[in-house]
């Protein structure tokens, strides 16, 4: 390990690994620091991703694909099911292997990686980020760089230390609990989404197949809901009702920041990617693919800035992200605010009443719900949102 790098990436999730790889591929020196003992573990994720989302960055590999998805099943509060066929839409991953493999591709491109390194502060000189302070094996150390890429996930503290406003409104944080359960006899090629006040108010409850009749199951709730009833409590209720005897192989808490991207995701010497930048699709809560996209844009721009010897170039990242996905997320966010506030009755009866709604009052959210129940062809379009 050197004491000076072109780029330091904090966090070795999908966004960090792709940022590191995209930069290292251009020939600059990259160091990636991860606080956990293992890259890829623990997993806090539903593990669903679109085929296109994977293929942009890595060749699909049976090693980390648990299920191939060709159908969606939306379950309304009155338990009626709406099925949609997709062709080969996506995958359910084994993320601990997937993340590990992504980090390996970053390493193959020349990235140095160190785990069990907890970054606790930044080095800032003359208003510019110039490196990080970290703790490793009980010792405090420093390492310098021209650019720091913060890929530190939902916590997003690194950006704050650089003066960016990264905290997320508690109403937009989907606090989640996720389990892997065995003996869940569902269609192994379908993603199941459950809606309703008793199941997952302001969001959805998911069951995603993981092969061999095991499944990734969970839900997230907004802090508004969490005030009264926690995600864990909703999960327990659901499992007691539907699968009281299913063996639970893993259980873990997690947080999905379901908001717009932060107003600023770069500042002198620093760029934010993935969950840290709040690049999650706010409607679906999917953040693996969008994080990798954010990471690749940031990694490339960072490397260019170094090769051109023009560090101000990194400030063009905000715009590049907004053009690629940020603006699209604004639309998804409006849909989210529309549908996730519906009551069960609304969900169930909207199909019937929607037709009477005057044109000017039809919001995207209402359209989505209408589509959900009455017009599967439109739903195909909107449902794609769930895996992008």
């Amino acid at each position: 390990m050197k004491n000076d790098y072109d780029i330091i990436v904090v966090g070795a999730g999908p966004a960090g690994s792709i940022a590191a790889r995209s930069a290292a591929e251009k020939g600059v020196s990259v160091l990636m620091l991860e606080k956990d003992r293992d890259v890829g573990y623990p997993v806090r994720c539903g593990e669903a991703i679109s085929k296109a989302g994977v293929e942009e960055f890595i060749q699909p590999n049976e090693k980390w694909i648990c299920a191939k998805i060709s159908q969606f099943c939306f379950v309304a509060p009155d338990k009626s099911e709406v099925w949609i066929e997709f062709g080969d839409a996506g995958f359910v991953l084994e993320r601990k292997i997937f993340d590990y493999e992504l980090a390996q591709t970053a390493a193959a491109a020349g990235t140095e990686i160190i785990t069990r390194c907890y970054v606790y502060d930044l080095i800032i000189e003359n208003g510019k980020v110039c490196g990080v302070k970290y703790e490793s094996q009980g010792e405090k150390k420093e390492v310098r760089s021209k650019i720091v890429i913060a890929a530190d996930g939902v916590e997003s503290r690194v950006g704050r230390w650089a003066g960016l406003k990264t905290e997320i409104d508690f109403r937009e944080m989907e606090s989640a609990v996720q389990i892997t359960a065995a003996n869940i006899p569902i269609n192994q090629n379908a993603l199941y989404f459950y809606f309703g006040q008793n199941v997952a108010p302001n969001g959805y409850f998911w069951i995603f197949p993981k092969g061999n009749n095991s499944a990734n199951i969970g839900l997230g709730v907004s802090g508004i809901v969490g005030k009264k009833k926690s995600a864990l409590s909703f999960l327990n209720d659901f499992m007691n009702e539907h699968y009281p005897n299913a063996p639970i192989l893993t259980q873990i808490a997690g947080g999905v920041p379901c908001s717009l991207t932060l107003e600023k995701i770069s500042a002198p010497g620093i760029m934010l990617v993935g969950d840290a930048a709040r690049q999650v699709n706010p409607l679906s809560g999917g953040g693996i693919a969008s994080g990798m996209i954010g990471g690749s844009i940031a990694g490339k721009i960072a490397a260019e800035a170094i090769l051109k010897n023009n560090l101000d170039h990194i400030l063009s990242y905000d715009r590049a992200w907004n053009d690629r996905l940020g603006k699209r997320h604004e639309i998804f966010n409006r849909i989210k605010n529309g549908i996730y506030n519906f009551s069960d009755d609304t969900f169930n009866s909207l199909a019937k009443t929607f037709i009477k709604v005057p044109l000017e009052k039809r919001t995207l959210g209402r359209l989505f719900t209408q589509a959900l129940i009455n017009k599967p062809s439109l739903l195909v379009e909107v449902a794609k949102v769930f895996v992008i």
């Binding site: 606080k35 956990d36 003992r37 806090r44 069990r116 907890y118 606790y120 703790e135 996930g153 939902v154 916590e155 997003s156 503290r157 704050r160 905290e167 997320i168 409104d169 508690f170 944080m173 606090s175 989640a176 609990v177 997230g220 709730v221 802090g223 508004i224 969490g226 005030k227 926690s230 995600a231 864990l232 409590s233 873990i252 808490a253 997690g254 947080g255 920041p257």
Partner: protein, 79 residues
């Protein structure tokens, strides 16, 4: 009694020992950057906390509690 002091008086936010799953929800919503989260170690940075309770509402497994009496300083008996 000697209390832990938050930015706004006594610290009333308590993370129940040994129950945290280190998921980061509370850290992500804390407006004051008042929570330190390492691989498997969590703590409140007392002098930054405003007892606003947002972390409590965001904890998916209910391990943060509001203790209106305030948290006493832990006395260390180490020599």
């Amino acid at each position: 009694m000697n209390y832990r002091m938050a930015k706004t008086g006594k610290l009333m936010i308590e993370i129940l020992p040994n129950k945290c799953d280190f998921c980061g929800c509370c850290v992500g919503v804390c407006p004051e950057d008042a929570i330190e989260l390492k691989e498997a170690e969590i703590s409140i940075i007392d002098e930054r906390c405003t007892n606003c309770s947002k972390c409590i509402w965001s904890c998916p497994i209910e391990v943060i509690k509001f203790n209106k009496n305030g948290l006493p300083k832990v006395v260390s008996y180490e020599k």
